[in-house]
Amino acid sequence: MVPWRQEDKYGLYSNLLFKYFLAEGIVCGHDLFVASAKEHPDNILKELPAPLLDDTYGKELGDEAAAVKSEDFQDSMKIAWRYQNLPKMEASPTTSTKFGHYYDISKKMPPELCQSVKWHSFYLHEELSFEPKMKAWNMNSGYARLLQSIQRIISQEGFDGSDPQKKQRNVLRIGIQSLGSILWGDDVCCSDSPADPHSLTKFLYVLRGLLRKSLSACIITVPAHLIQNKAIMERVTNLSDMVVGLESFIGSERETNPLYKDYHGLVHVHQIPRLNSLICDVPDTKDLAFRLKRKLFTIETILIEGSNTKDVFHFNLAKEQMNIALLSN
C-alpha cells in the first residue's frame, strides 16, 4: 500500500506523521526502511516519539474526556483509515489494544526500543558515492538507486516470500521523506516544465509494483505546495492508494479565523484505498482538522452547526484519536 502525505508548508506536521508511522513500526516489531535526501536516517530515528503506556495516557486524557459531553461522541464514525474495533476515547490504551498505539511527542523513543528492530537506511548523499552497474532505467538516478535499494532489501530479507525457510514473516515499513524535492535531484518542485516530468511518476509505479509483491507498506511525504505542475500532482494521486493533504494554518489567513482557533490545520483526504473490493469505505464527513498539543497530535472532525435562536455558528466537536498505526496492510 502506498499512502502519501502532502507536506504542509513548512513540513512540520507531515514530518510528525512520518515519525508516528515509523514509531508504530518499532512498537509492532516491524522492520524499517528509512530513506531521505534531507536528513540522515540515523537522526530521524533518534527523534521518534516515545510510546505511551497505560497509566500515563489515561491520566492525560482523563481531563479532556471530562470536558466533553457524552452525546458528542459519534458511535461508529467512519474515517477512511479507521477500523471498527478501535477502542472509544474513554478507554485508556493498553498493550492489549487490538490495533495501534499512542505516543508522547514530548519524549523521545528510548534507544533500546529503537534497536529492538531491524532497520535499513538510505541516505542519498552517501549512496551516490558508490557507482554500481545500473541498467538503463530512463529515470532520475537518485530514484533509481532508491528503488534498487528497496528491491534488494525486500529480496534479501524475504519480504516477498522468496525464502521458504523463514519461519515468521514480518512486515517492512518504508518511509521516504520529501520525495520530489530538489535534494533528490528532481526539479519537479522548481519548475512548471521539469526536465524529466515522468521520473516521479515512474518511481511511484515501480514502488507500487514492489509493495504489491511483498509484505510492506510505505509512507511518502511530498512537498506538494512546491510542485507547480498540477498534471503531475494528479498523476501522483492516481498512482497512490491513499493520499492525505495537511494544510497548516501557519502564515495563512485562517490562523486568525476564530472558527479555527483550536486547531493548527486541516486534513484533506484526497484518495482512499479501494483494494480487493468493489466498494470502498467512504467517510461520512470529510471535514477534518488537526491540532498539536504538548504531548499528542490529534485529528478531529469539525461540524459546523447553525443555532436555532441566533445566526451564530459554533462547533460541535466529536473527538477521535486518529491512529496512524492503521497504515499497514
Binding site: 541498467k135 530512463n138 509494483g209 504489491r212 509483491k213 498534471a231 494528479e234 498523476r235 468493489l278
Partner: protein, 248 residues
C-alpha cells in the same frame, strides 16, 4: 466489433472493469486483460465475489492477463531479456517511444488458433491514463488504441473496452487530449461521475450511457441515458435519477 470507453470523473469507475471482466468470461469469450494499475490478486478476489474464477480462466487459456506491475519489475530488475521475446512494456526502458511491443502482445494473445471455440474476443484495458504517467506520449497511446481497434474490432470481430480517468478541472492536458480523442471514436461511452453535491450513502454516483449513433450515420443523434447507481459488496444497483431506495 465495438469500441467501448469507460470513463470516470470525481469517482472510481473500476467497478465497471470488474463487471465487464466477469461478464465476458461468463459469456464464454476469450479476454486479453491489460491490467496496468492493480495486481492479479485484486481482480481475482473481486471476481470471486462476482462468481468468476480468474485463476481457472487463466489456466484454461480463456484469460490472458498482463500484470503490468509485475512485468515492469521483471523488465527493470530481471535478467537480460531474450532477443525474441521483448517485454510488452519495452517503452519503459526508453529504447523505443512507441507501444508496439504492447500491441504485439495483445495481437498474439487474441489471435485465435485452430482449437479455439470461444464465443467472442475482448481486449480490456485498466487504465489507459497510466501509460502517460509512465512516459508514453499521447500520440503513442492513441496509435496503440488505433492499432488495437483495427486488429481486434475489425479483423477479429471482437470488442475493445478501455477505462480512462478524467476530471472537469484537470490540468493534465495530455490526458484530456487522449480522453477526448477516444470519446470521438467510441461506439459506446459509459461515464461514471461522482455526485456534484458530494458524497451520499445511498447514491454513489451517476452513470451516463452514450450510444454514439452519430458515428454510424451522419444524421443520427447520440442517445444519452442517465442512471444513478450504488455499489455494494457483490453487485451494483442502478436506478433512475431521484428514485433511489432512500428517496422512495
Amino acid at each position: 466489433g465495438k469500441f467501448m470507453l469507460l470513463r470516470d470523473t470525481r469517482t472510481d469507475g473500476s467497478f465497471l472493469v470488474h463487471h465487464f471482466l466477469s461478464f465476458y468470461l461468463r459469456a464464454g469469450c476469450k479476454v486479453c486483460f491489460v491490467a496496468l494499475l492493480q495486481s492479479f490478486s485484486h481482480y481475482s478476489i473481486v471476481a470471486q465475489k462476482l462468481g468468476v474464477n480468474l485463476a481457472a480462466a487463466k489456466e484454461q487459456g480463456q484469460l490472458v492477463f498482463l500484470e503490468s506491475l509485475k512485468s515492469c519489475l521483471d523488465l527493470l530488475f530481471g535478467e537480460e531479456e531474450q532477443p525474441g521475446q521483448p517485454s510488452p512494456l519495452q517503452f519503459l526502458s526508453g529504447s523505443t517511444c512507441d507501444l508496439r511491443a504492447l500491441f504485439d502482445f495483445v495481437q498474439v494473445s487474441l489471435t485465435p488458433c485452430a482449437r479455439d471455440s470461444w464465443k467472442g474476443l475482448v481486449l480490456l484495458v485498466d487504465d489507459l491514463s497510466v501509460l502517460l504517467s509512465l512516459g508514453a506520449a499521447p500520440v503513442a497511446v492513441l496509435d496503440f488504441i488505433h492499432y488495437c481497434r483495427v486488429s481486434v474490432c475489425c479483423q477479429l470481430q471482437g470488442n475493445v473496452v478501455v477505462l480512462v480517468h478524467s476530471s472537469e478541472d484537470s490540468e493534465d492536458e495530455e490526458n484530456e487530449l487522449v480522453v477526448n480523442s477516444l470519446c470521438h471514436h467510441s461506439d459506446l461511452i459509459l461515464w461514471a461521475e461522482g455526485l456534484a453535491t458530494g458524497f451520499c450513502k445511498d447514491v454513489h454516483g451517476q452513470m451516463k450511457i452514450i450510444k454514439r449513433l452519430s458515428l454510424r450515420q451522419a444524421a443520427e443523434q447520440d442517445l444519452v441515458q442517465i442512471y444513478q447507481y450504488k455499489i455494494q459488496d457483490r453487485n451494483v444497483t442502478f436506478f433512475a435519477r431521484g428514485l433511489s431506495a432512500a428517496v422512495l
